[in-house]
Chain length 188, copies 2
Amino acid sequence: MSYAAESLPAANKAYQANFGSKASCEPFSRLKCIELTQDQQGSLPLPPGKKVAIVGCMDARLDTSAATGLHEGDSHHIRNAGGRAAEALRSLVISQELLGTREIIVIHHTDCGMLTFKSERLHDLIKKRVDPAHYPAIEQLAALEFGDLDKSITDDVAFLKAHPLILKETVVSGYKYHVETGELEKVV
Amino acid sequence: MSYAAESLPAANKAYQANFGSKASCEPFSRLKCIELTQDQQGSLPLPPGKKVAIVGCMDARLDTSAATGLHEGDSHHIRNAGGRAAEALRSLVISQELLGTREIIVIHHTDCGMLTFKSERLHDLIKKRVDPAHYPAIEQLAALEFGDLDKSITDDVAFLKAHPLILKETVVSGYKYHVETGELEKVV
């Protein structure tokens, strides 16, 4: 069995039942403030209302909507292992050029798995279970791990501020999410 | 001004105030069911409790936690423009090899921006504002757009099922999220 087969249908039915109502919203949500009806939530426009794109880690303990107050309709949520900006570049260019976002919020977090290994260890683990024909593909897989959390945040913000394909007027900030308390601490 | 400077601090303070309590949870949340205290939510383990990794679009109208019932501690949330599996590969390998996930849920959605343009149009837009020295980098940027929503979902599920770096025993399913109603419709 799987989560998709066992639990997702009921969870999604509950979400649909509250779709657009206050009951599905959280403190400081834009949806709650203006008390959207189902029709209103169902016709939210494609471009993010707050003109924000979040670049955050995929980590299970981080909810980039709940922790920031950026709910349905407000912002793009781009997430990958570590919340690395370089891998988010394609999505950010589309977000800015076609959907009008002008602010980027980078979120990495305490106790991140990316602080605990090196690419070589990941490569060795995968090699144990695949045909040697795939070794070259594995060796090309850069894990984008990091050794220092604050530095990964300042590095990614600097990368975005300097990147020629990111609009010059973009406001870029970087936050450290504390998985122990829910705090978003501004780093840069 | 920016969302980060103006609104994020208060929104995050509200999140911290409810951290671990029922008040911050949603219907069918695991957190709600077991009524976590702040200490409990603050010490959730690094590996996702439901062993799931979501690959979803960055779209502002999609909340991959609320719509699936996969909340803090449950699953990885990997998101990019379109929810494309190929770009999620690095994150998925880390998710499976180092953090034990064994299920992948692909979520694309109706009214997706990726259905509305071609890479060439995106390239032309960027070229209007950057130095010609960057044209080669722009031309290498594949937007990974698609022309058919159902096909993009079945293609991405097939890509993951066939990929040598993805564990053979992985349960992979693909859903279409309806931005008009909140429904997750199973496609494959």
